[in-house]
Symmetry: C2
């Protein structure tokens, strides 16, 4: 049986102007090859509704799966979600499930879910959310199109969220735990914990916020109970610094 086919749609003026070097194409290409899915075409288009809509329709008709990156953030030029909805003639609005995810996230951080951030909860009617364990704001799947973020760490986390179901495997569950400590302090205990759970994957996504070093630790696996056990152990290790 031939492998399923796929295309990628990269959205963003910053790539076409040369300001930013795309890193997601090479990553996705390798992941799909490993998964036995043939990436047949990539298109890079600008932040132009007509270009995004036309490319989405064309690629969605031609290939089994379409993966997009970019244009789902909080700013005025993040128009991907609306364009994908238009491509499939579907309505789009702030959706309660996506809003709840963002609300809980910003509440934890003591930040306001303002109108700009609320844009990230705009989801086309009938779409499935794609888990974003790094920065919470979800991607989504509608028909055969997987709409994901352009920031490489978030893109990669979303690819990890969707690939198992494409391969026919069990979907992964994940937790994300924010630890306000530099990675140099986290690395040793985290490696020990990872060694004691060989069936789970452990990722560290460092950040600096208001001058404070921290990292989001993402634990993933097919076994929900194991993921939850490992997350409890992680929290206990860094009890004094977990928010």
């Amino acid at each position: 049986m031939a492998n399923p086919t796929a295309a990628m749609l990269v959205i963003g003026d910053e790539i076409l102007s040369g300001r930013t070097r795309d890193a997601n194409m090479h990553y996705l290409a390798g992941q799909l090859t490993d998964a036995g899915i043939d990436l047949k075409e990539v298109r890079v288009v600008s932040d132009d509704p007509n270009a995004i809509i036309a490319a989405t329709q064309s690629l969605s008709k031609t290939y089994a799966h379409v993966f997009t990156s970019g244009g789902i953030g909080p700013t005025h030029d993040d128009i991907t979600a609306d364009c994908i909805a238009a491509a499939f003639d579907t309505s789009i609005a702030v959706r309660a499930d996506a809003r709840a995810l963002l609300q809980a996230h910003y509440d934890r951080q003591g930040m306001e879910l303002n109108n700009a951030r609320l844009r990230m909860a705009r989801i086309p009617d009938g779409a499935l959310l794609i888990d974003n364990p790094v920065s919470v704001a979800p991607g989504f799947q509608i028909r055969n199109v997987y709409v994901m973020a352009g920031v490489p760490s978030v893109f990669q986390a979303m690819v990890a969220s969707v690939l198992p179901s494409l391969k026919g495997g069990a979907p992964l569950v994940s937790t994300s735990t924010r630890i306000e400590r530099g990675e140099g302090d986290i690395a040793g205990p985290l490696a020990d914990l990872a060694n004691s759970y060989p069936d789970l994957s452990f990722g560290s996504y460092p950040y600096i916020k208001n001058g404070v070093y921290g990292s989001n630790i993402v634990i993933r696996g097919a076994d929900r109970a194991a993921v939850e056990d490992a997350t409890r152990e992680l929290t206990a290790l860094f009890i004094e610094v977990v928010k």
Copy 2:
């Protein structure tokens, strides 16, 4: 007046499989931005004739300029030239001018212009050759499509060959001089020479061949006499090692 528009077509299974990371898109994007040309779309397609032909026709109709990279080497899967000819319903064959360039190059190197290498002289009828000062085998322009190599150093040299005419400037002339000495030995005298010709550009493209270090030194400029003077001085500097 709006800037002219452009698209890029990257051809190669090796990019889509993740084996190779494309480096040409980011380079071209920066060069076109500097030249005041708006790169509006990039497509990456596999080594599949129908995909190459369809993308060439579509992009050529939509944008003022189309730049391709990849698929013009000597191996059986280098099918770009034939596909571009097919896209424009033009005949293609080994052309005398391209053959002469290759013949002279391989004669200098004491190598045979075999049938595989001769494939690189297949040029669509009516196309203009694009100068390749790095490795000689030319690119070509047909209608608004510029067909260039995928190897980044050659791609970059070909972009430098075509950009001045797109910007309405004088076309550049260039010479290439092979010096069988490591770049560490070449760098000092070459920098002095470059300083004495501020209107010319000097590029060094190193290689290792049969264990011997060397470099192709490319001198470019709009003033043919100055380029030739500088090339004579370069040759005199390294008289004992120039072949």
